[in-house]
């Protein structure tokens, strides 16, 4: 019998023998916490080899490890958690960034329909970007489409995110009273001006990164990255100057289609409206008791706002908000809306509800 056939036999036998269900009776199975610690190499040598021995001899624990490995993003293990986390985001974000970058350089005629379409699609797209495993192929096409813009965009995004995380932390550190501390709410202008100097703890991004080609595109992309991360509904502003790169650190801002009407939530409490593309802001009264977390503006006069404790508000004239009845006392974290009566809200624990009659009835989406 030829040698190769013997090897083939061994392989075929291994396929069956290794799949035999085996459970060592004398040993307790490994729990998720230990698997996690083992995978990060933080077990002591003796414990690690005991786990290895058990997993090698127990079908259940080996399957557990296999499932776990499938969830591991394909990044070098040596990197710190923060870096890894950001890199894992980079690919889906890069796609969004390039979309933004391309959009920015389009002639004016092209922008209007895009802007109108935004509020409806935003949440869905955000969800996809957040949840899908980063497709390796996705990177190549945007890069090919707009090499310089997207490269700059990706870079500035990553930097923006690193800086953002640390400024978040700064803000959270300041937030000792135990109040809600949403990233975008507490906003010191100093942080917005320069992430590097405002947050010394951050791996300070060199300012030069913002001076790369197509700064406007990079700025818009950074803004988009921020919006994606926060899962907030935010339409992109008109082509922005270099300063827009720092707008990633502005309060939650919602741009209504058309770009001139904008809403923002300041400190999670105050709602303001601008009718001149963000130049002047006027306070709008929302009789809210808890924190407000997200908003959606499907048209210049309609805006939905959600917040803690099942709070949902809507305005259809751009001036007066009314409380929309909602059945559950649960913290809401995002909202998308198509008009003044149709909206979908998502709670902190991932459930979604949709109304098509301005909150008279809500139906669970998932």
């Amino acid at each position: 019998m030829p040698e190769r056939d013997r090897d083939q036999s061994v392989e075929q036998l291994l396929r069956r023998v290794m799949s035999d269900d085996i459970t060592p009776l004398e040993e307790a199975c490994v729990d998720g916490e230990t698997i996690a610690a083992w995978s990060e190499g933080s077990l002591r040598a003796a414990e690690a080899s005991a786990v290895e021995r058990h997993v090698a001899g127990c079908s259940r624990c080996r399957a557990l490890m296999a499932s776990f490995v499938r969830t591991t993003p394909p990044q070098p293990v040596a990197e710190s958690l923060w870096r890894r986390w950001h890199l894992a985001w980079a690919v889906p974000l890069a796609t969004a960034a390039t979309a933004a970058a391309i959009w920015v350089i389009l002639p004016d005629t092209g922008t209007a329909p895009l802007t109108n379409a935004e509020p409806i699609g935003t949440i869905a797209r955000d969800e996809r970007a957040l949840t899908s495993p980063p497709p390796p192929a996705a990177q190549s096409s945007p890069v090919a489409a707009a090499p310089s813009e997207s490269a700059a965009a990706i870079q500035s995004q990553q930097r923006a995110k690193v800086a953002e995380s640390s400024s978040n932390e700064l803000r959270q550190r300041a937030d000792t009273s135990g109040n809600r501390s949403l990233a975008d709410q507490v906003q010191a202008p100093a942080i917005a001006r320069s992430p590097a100097e405002a947050s010394p703890a951050a791996p300070a991004p060199p300012e030069a990164s913002f001076a790369l080609p197509a700064p406007a595109a990079a700025g818009a992309a950074a803004e988009r990255a921020e919006a994606d991360t926060k899962k907030e509904v935010a339409t992109n502003s008109a082509p922005a100057p270099l300063a827009a790169a720092r707008q990633a650190f502005a309060p939650i801002q919602i741009v209504a289609p058309g770009g001139t009407t904008r809403w923002r939530i300041v400190s999670g409490q105050r709602v303001e409206r601008s009718t001149n593309a963000g130049a002047d802001w006027t306070l709008v009264n929302v009789a809210s008791t808890g924190a407000l977390t997200a908003a959606a503006a499907p048209s210049a006069t309609v805006c939905w706002i959600v917040g803690a404790g099942g709070a949902v508000y809507v305005t259809t004239d751009g001036a007066r908000f009314t409380r929309v009845p909602f059945q559950e006392i649960v913290n809401l974290t995002s909202v998308s809306a198509t008009d003044g009566i149709t909206a979908t809200v998502t709670s902190v624990d991932g459930r979604s509800w949709r109304t098509t009659d301005q909150g008279k009835t809500w139906l669970g989406v998932n």
């Binding site: 061994v10 075929q12 036998l13 069956r16 259940r60 399957a63 959270q172």
Partner: protein, 313 residues
């Protein structure tokens, strides 16, 4: 004085390092969590210096966040949701691209938020996080654990082929029963050869042949480069083959011709068995005409390693 409880000065430092103050975690709660972590990490109470080393190596910020979330701190919970829900959902999609694991992720979410026990106290899954890994790694591992346990519990409900097996058919052709005997023998000797390998080699083989992970995935699991995984797999296969040939020669006293026949029997047979594995049912082997026969053969095959009888029969 060995103990799992850190000294006061150590606590002050660890508390500061964990930045538990941003979630206003009470020091007593944090100390209790540290103690739980220490008990998990050390089987016996360690020396104070060792204890401090262990505690310092923990993911303290994540531990503080878990403490805060377990006690229902709203800001902490929001922070957790923002940072970790995407991780959890992405992991669920990686485990089951059809979305089946999403529901597990959601129920995990509920458990993290806290289940109200009979005495009215809220128990959160966070209490089982000990900071020995990062929070996101832990979440992924717990999700994988839930997934595997669910898969295995549903599989247990389905009848196993072994349970419906009938006594070995006596009516089989002599040639075919000899092939079946060879296959039984081969499975037995391969199992024995695998058992003699070091744990890491067995793990690598299991990941590759049973779990069907890619070389890159196995590399991630074992901290090896893809090429190393491939090389080590080939080496293990060579060792197994040499071991098998040795067993057939020396323990079974087979002639080179008989050994050849053993290997050939596997090649001739395995095609059908592989298909049956894939479909989860027994299918017809090419040389037998009926399905029950194939099933019997398969179950005999499965049990062959428990039987002392050899192939020289």
């Amino acid at each position: 004085m060995s103990s799992w409880r850190p000294s006061e000065s150590a606590v002050t430092h660890l508390y500061q390092q964990s930045r538990a103050d941003r979630w206003s975690v009470p020091v007593a709660v944090f100390v209790a969590a540290l103690e739980r972590s220490a008990r998990k990490a050390c089987a016996t109470p360690p020396e104070p210096r060792e204890l401090e080393r262990v505690l310092r190596s923990l993911h303290l910020e994540d531990l503080a966040l878990a403490c805060a979330c377990a006690s229902g701190h709203e800001g902490a919970w929001e922070h957790f949701v923002r940072e970790h829900r995407p991780v959890l959902y992405r992991a669920a999609d990686a485990i089951d691209p059809t979305g089946g694991a999403r529901e597990l992720a959601d129920s995990l979410y509920g458990e993290l938020f806290g289940v109200v026990e009979r005495n009215g106290e809220r128990r959160s899954l966070f209490e089982y996080f000990h900071g020995r890994s990062s929070l996101s790694t832990w979440l992924r591992a717990v999700l994988a654990q839930r997934h595997v346990d669910r898969v295995r519990s549903t599989r247990r409900l389905e009848p196993l082929p072994d349970e419906e097996r009938t006594p070995p058919a006596r009516s089989q052709e002599p040639a075919q029963s000899r092939i079946a005997a060879y296959i039984r023998l081969m499975r037995r000797v391969v199992t024995a050869a695998v058992a003699r390998l070091p744990a890491k080699d067995r793990l690598r083989l299991g990941y590759y042949y049973a779990e069907e992970l890619t070389l890159a995935q196995i590399g991630r699991a074992l901290g090896e480069h893809e090429a190393t995984v491939s090389r080590n797999l080939a080496k293990a296969r060579r060792e197994i083959r040499a071991d098998v040939e040795g067993q057939l020669r020396e323990q079974e006293h087979m002639t080179p011709g008989q050994i050849d026949e053993c290997f050939e029997a596997v090649v001739a047979d395995v095609g059908s068995l592989d298909v049956s594995d894939l479909l989860g049912t027994a299918s017809d082997p090419p040389d037998s005409g009926n399905s029950p026969g194939a099933r019997r053969k398969d179950s005999q095959d499965k049990r062959s390693k428990e039987r002392p009888e050899g192939a020289s029969a």
